[in-house]
């Protein structure tokens, strides 16, 4: 097995150099305070998000810039493959599947909206990513598929075809793609955890910790939906949660589902479990208790993920932690920038924007 320095020396330097281009807090603050969308976009000039500014200036279309930026990040990510050897390569490819699953979800959502819900999706496929991440697929064929079999055929050669065949009929019947997307996410985490298990000690620990926080972020949003929106029973809800979260684990949730905490809603359960695993989450929530809402819980876990990423960047540089930290931070930053810009498009107030970050 090659040494950690050989495996991560170049990668660590490259990604840390890119992290140095992270948007400074004062620029983000100016972005939030901008009085209009054109003024906000102007602040992106000279930053890593200049692509959005350029696309917006040329087309007036924010999503075009976002799609361009997303494509660049994906190329950077897939470009890392050539610097890696097994077993790290398999793990990074497994992580890349997350972007691919997003690609599948976006295409299937368009197909579903048009063919099942009868909604207008004209022009929206223009933003889909059409490159290859891990598996080759034709997203346009998914969008224009005649039926479920057509979607599955468009996904043939990928692991998602079987999921489409298994889950889309029920999704069509219930007019919701939730179960399909859930199955995709479960597959992603199964693969990612399996790939993480083959890593060396220090890497495995860092990878499982980061994936655990990620799973918590997913589980907490589902938890709220299952209990508060769908009124699901404990057994049904547990069977759908991703097993390996650091805080929101099916067994732990089952233990408090019908307790006094549980009777105060999913927010109470989430807060209780998060508080046990992540010291300081309670403080972040400002004592929100059972009234804690999904957005607040998600924001708290994002903070945890960001802190974890920060620790990885400050710690031993020759580990998978740096790669994970870069993409955690980058995803969070891109999300924040796009949240602010979209809020500016809808002329939302500054306080509301800050609360959603």
């Amino acid at each position: 097995m090659p040494s950690a320095i050989r495996t991560y020396g170049f990668l660590s330097a490259k990604l840390k150099a890119r992290i140095s281009k992270t948007m400074p807090p004062e620029t983000m603050d100016r972005l939030i305070k901008a009085r209009s969308l054109p003024e906000a976009v102007q602040f992106l000039r000279g930053t890593a998000y200049q692509a959005i500014e350029e696309a917006y200036t040329a087309t007036g279309d924010l999503r075009a810039g976002e799609a361009l930026l997303h494509e660049r990040e994906l190329r950077l990510y897939t470009g890392l493959f050539r610097y890696l050897d097994e077993p790290v390569l398999s793990f990074v490819r497994a992580l890349a599947a997350r972007y691919e699953i997003d690609q599948v979800k976006n295409a299937v959502r368009l197909w579903f909206d048009a063919h099942v819900r009868g909604r207008d999706v004209a022009g929206k496929s223009g933003y889909l990513f059409r490159g290859t991440i891990v598996n080759r697929m034709d997203v346009d064929a998914i969008v224009r598929a005649a039926d479920i079999e057509g979607v599955a055929a468009a996904l043939s050669g990928t692991p998602y075809a079987a999921i489409a065949r298994a889950e889309l009929p029920a999704a069509q019947a219930s007019r919701s793609v939730f179960s399909f997307e859930l199955a995709l996410d479960r597959r992603y985490y199964d693969e990612a955890f399996a790939a993480a298990a083959s890593l060396g000690g220090r890497d495995r620990e860092a990878a499982e910790r980061a994936l655990g926080v990620d799973v918590d972020l997913q589980n907490v949003s589902w938890l709220i939906r299952f209990k508060d929106f769908y009124g699901m029973g404990a057994e049904d809800a547990m069977s759908r949660l991703i097993p390996r979260g650091r805080a929101i684990k099916p067994a732990a949730v089952a233990a408090v589902w019908d307790s006094e905490r549980g009777s105060r809603g999913a927010g109470g359960i989430g807060l209780d479990l998060l508080g046990r695993s992540y010291p300081g989450v309670g403080a972040m929530m400002g004592g929100g208790g059972s009234a804690a809402k999904l957005a607040v819980l998600e924001a708290a876990i994002r903070r945890v993920a960001d802190d974890e990423a920060g620790k990885s960047l400050c710690g031993y540089p020759f580990s998978i932690g740096v790669v994970l930290a870069y993409f955690t931070k980058k995803r969070a930053e891109m999300r924040a920038v796009m949240t602010v810009l979209n809020a500016k498009y809808y002329a939302l107030a500054e306080e509301r924007i800050r609360s959603s970050l």
């Binding site: 007036g60 075009a64 999706v121 004209a122 224009r144 005649a146």
Partner: protein
């Protein structure tokens, strides 16, 4: 130029009613560095209030930044007008300015929305295109479209006289209209009867509600798709591409419209910026004023040569109703205040001030090292990068960078230094007879290339050892200059103890000079004979012994004053201090001097690299004129040497200045002089 500018501390009192005029005048003069009146000694300052701002400074700054954002949005950006305070315009009304900026934002938003509408049409046409491509031909597409596609593909007949109007009627709706020339027999005969033409129409199903009334109005009659519809796909795709190109051109026209819009409001934005910035600066200056009921007080440092002009300006702005007092730095009420440092050099030397400031700001009243740094830096660079051709390239890079910096309004000092370095390299190249590694003209001093390559040479410099010796001598001159500057600084400070006994003082210089003489004596005697012991004892032993008295003397002069009492153990401390200082002087100065051998080292590396590239070129073309690949190697080799060696020589010259030269005399404890001014950057 020799020393930093002498300063005076101004303390003035004016009527509150005149405070705005005074602030404006101070900004116009651009000479005062504000000092909080509360920093002056005495408890009277605590009884003063703060001058209340007349405007909301935070709002002013926010509006000014908004205006700047709009100015930068234009292509090219709207230039910021230069402020001199001469304009006597009305003070900016912040509410009006805010509303005007909101209106501009709305106008720009409207333009972006227009672009977005066009983008939506492009995306939809792109989708139609992708679907048509996937179907292979229109007929297959029509069959598929009836079932599940987003597309509606249909054929029909229209009265010939209105068919041309279909394009215009469908304006804004993503669609493709194709003439159906190969219609089937039934449709053709039908068309002939009604003088109608066949048309194929591709639209999105979602637009049906908008398309149907148009078709009805234009007399559309559905017909079967002609057999030849399969051939129409390429034409349809071409039509879509053409439409997308047209839409992109209209998007680009929106950008032109935006630039025209900025051109029309540019001067208004400039005026608004000037008014806001002027108010902001005046408010900032006023915030540094202290006040009584009817008067305001302010204080600040001013270069002595500008004091008279500033006083005249204040008296004029206050119509004589003012009290002005001047204080000397280090004396009276100014004793506890640190005077700022202004380096005052002729314009050609200004870029080198940046190199000095980059290290630290010199102490107030000390020798301004800028002229010495300029000369030393350029000599070092020239010796390390002595090639007239390479120097010419560096000079051109500097001049181009300077032109670019001027265009963008950015500071160009770095490019000036690069241009100077190019000039130094040209001079050195002419002295060494080196032009892109070739000897086009005979050297005026010595043949650097010839010596490095082992050729016979005449004159004072013949071997590599001579080059190394030359750079060591150069280093000794630089270090000697450092000693001299240090002595002048200490003399001016009346710090006699340090002047005499410090390692960079007279005693250190004595040891250094004697050591250098002894070393040259040893070299001159073929490394076999040292100077006579008696002379060595006098020149090196005596000052070394004198140094032994430094620590006890320091204790007597300074230690007792601070209440320290003598203990026998202190003798060990004195001895240890002496040993350490002697070691520092002997080993440190030897290292400092030998460090200058890097000047020769880099010069030799420069020549060696060029020689290597010429050898590679000769291996490609063993005889006669160089072939094209060989010339390519030489061009690339020259480029590589210019880039690598240029960077190395620049960095090493800086290093020698900072670590060898500055360490002898530089006391970087000064505070840079930053006057308030209309021209000052934010």
């Amino acid at each position: 130029m020799m020393f930093t500018s002498p300063m005076r501390l101004l303390a003035a009192m004016v009527l509150d009613a005149d405070s705005d005029a005074i602030a404006k005048e101070l900004l116009r003069l651009g000479a005062l560095e504000m000092v909080s009146i509360k920093e002056l000694p005495g408890d009277w300052a605590s009884r003063l209030g703060k001058a209340e701002p007349k405007v909301n400074l935070a709002r002013l700054v926010e509006l000014r930044k908004r205006v700047e954002g709009f100015m930068d949005m234009a292509s090219p950006p709207v230039a910021r007008p230069s402020l001199d305070g001469s304009a006597d315009g009305e003070p900016a009304d912040l509410d009006v300015a805010g509303k005007r900026l909101d209106a501009i934002a709305a106008d720009i938003n409207g333009l972006r929305e227009r672009q977005k509408d066009l983008q939506d049409q492009i995306l939809k046409l792109g989708e139609i295109r992708r679907q048509l491509e996937a179907f292979g031909d229109l007929k297959a597409g029509a069959a598929a479209s009836s079932a599940y596609s987003f597309l509606s593909i249909r054929a029909g007949l229209m009265p010939a006289d209105v068919a041309d109007g279909l394009h215009e009627a469908l304006e804004g709706i993503p669609s493709v209209v194709l003439p159906s020339s190969g219609r089937d027999a039934a449709a053709a005969s039908q068309a002939r009867r009604h003088e109608a033409v066949g048309v194929m129409l591709v639209t999105l199903k979602r637009d049906a509600a908008r398309v149907e009334p148009i078709l009805e109005r234009l007399g559309w009659e559905d017909a079967r798709l002609p057999e030849s519809a399969g051939q129409g796909n390429a034409e349809a795709l071409e039509t879509i591409d053409r439409k997308i190109d047209e839409l992109r051109a209209r998007q680009a026209a929106c950008v032109d419209d935006l630039n025209a819009y900025f051109a029309s409001i540019g001067s208004g934005l400039g005026s608004m910026w000037a008014a806001l910035r002027t108010e902001e600066l005046i408010a900032t200056v006023r915030s540094g004023f202290a006040r009584t009921d009817r008067t305001v007080l302010f204080s600040g440092w001013i270069p002595a040569e500008k004091a008279a002009a500033v006083e005249a300006g204040i008296r004029k702005a206050a119509s004589g109703a003012c009290s002005v007092e001047w204080l000397e730095p280090g004396k009276g009420e100014a004793a506890r205040l640190e005077a700022p440092v202004e380096m005052r050099n002729p314009k050609p030397l200004k870029p080198f001030e940046g190199l000095v400031r980059n290290y630290a700001v010199p102490e107030y009243g000390s020798v301004d090292p800028t002229p010495f740094v300029a000369v030393a830096y350029l000599c070092m660079f020239g010796l390390m990068f002595g090639d007239a051709g390479h120097g010419l390239v560096v000079l051109l890079v500097g001049l181009l960078g300077l032109a670019s910096a001027r265009r963008s309004g950015k500071p160009g000092d770095l490019y000036r230094v690069i241009a100077y370095c190019g000039g130094a390299a040209i001079v050195a190249g002419v002295l060494f007879g080196s032009y892109f590694g070739m000897q086009w003209l005979p050297p005026l001093w010595f043949d650097y290339h010839g010596i490095v390559n082992g050729h016979e040479a005449a004159g004072s410099v013949r071997t590599l050892y001579d080059i190394l010796g030359l750079t060591i001598r150069f280093g000794m001159v630089v270090l000697g200059l450092g000693f001299a500057i240090n002595w002048v600084n200490l003399f001016r400070k009346r710090d006699w103890f340090t002047l005499l006994l410090d390692k960079a003082g007279v005693i250190g210089g004595w040891i250094y000079g004697a050591g250098a003489w002894a070393a040259f004596y040893y070299v001159r005697h073929d490394y076999r004979e040292l100077p006579p012991v008696g002379i060595l004892a006098l020149l090196l032993g005596l000052p070394t012994m004198i140094l032994a008295f430094k620590a006890p003397l320091e204790f007597v002069i300074h230690g007792r004053a601070s209440g320290k009492r003598f203990k026998p153990g202190l003798i060990v401390d004195f001895v240890m201090e002496w040993i350490v200082e002697v070691l520092e002087i002997y080993s440190g100065y030897l290292a400092n001097t030998l460090s200058f051998m890097r000047v020769a080292g880099l010069g030799i590396a420069h020549v060696s690299l060029m020689t290597a590239f010429f050898q590679i070129a000769r291996m490609i073309t063993p005889e006669g004129p160089f072939s094209i690949p060989a010339i390519l190697v030489l061009v690339l080799g020259n480029a590589l040497v210019i880039a690598l060696e240029g960077l190395s020589a620049g960095i090493q010259s800086l290093r020698l200045n900072y670590y060898e030269f500055f360490s002898k005399y530089f006391n970087g404890t000064g505070k840079a002089y930053r006057p308030i001014s209309f021209k000052a950057a934010e």
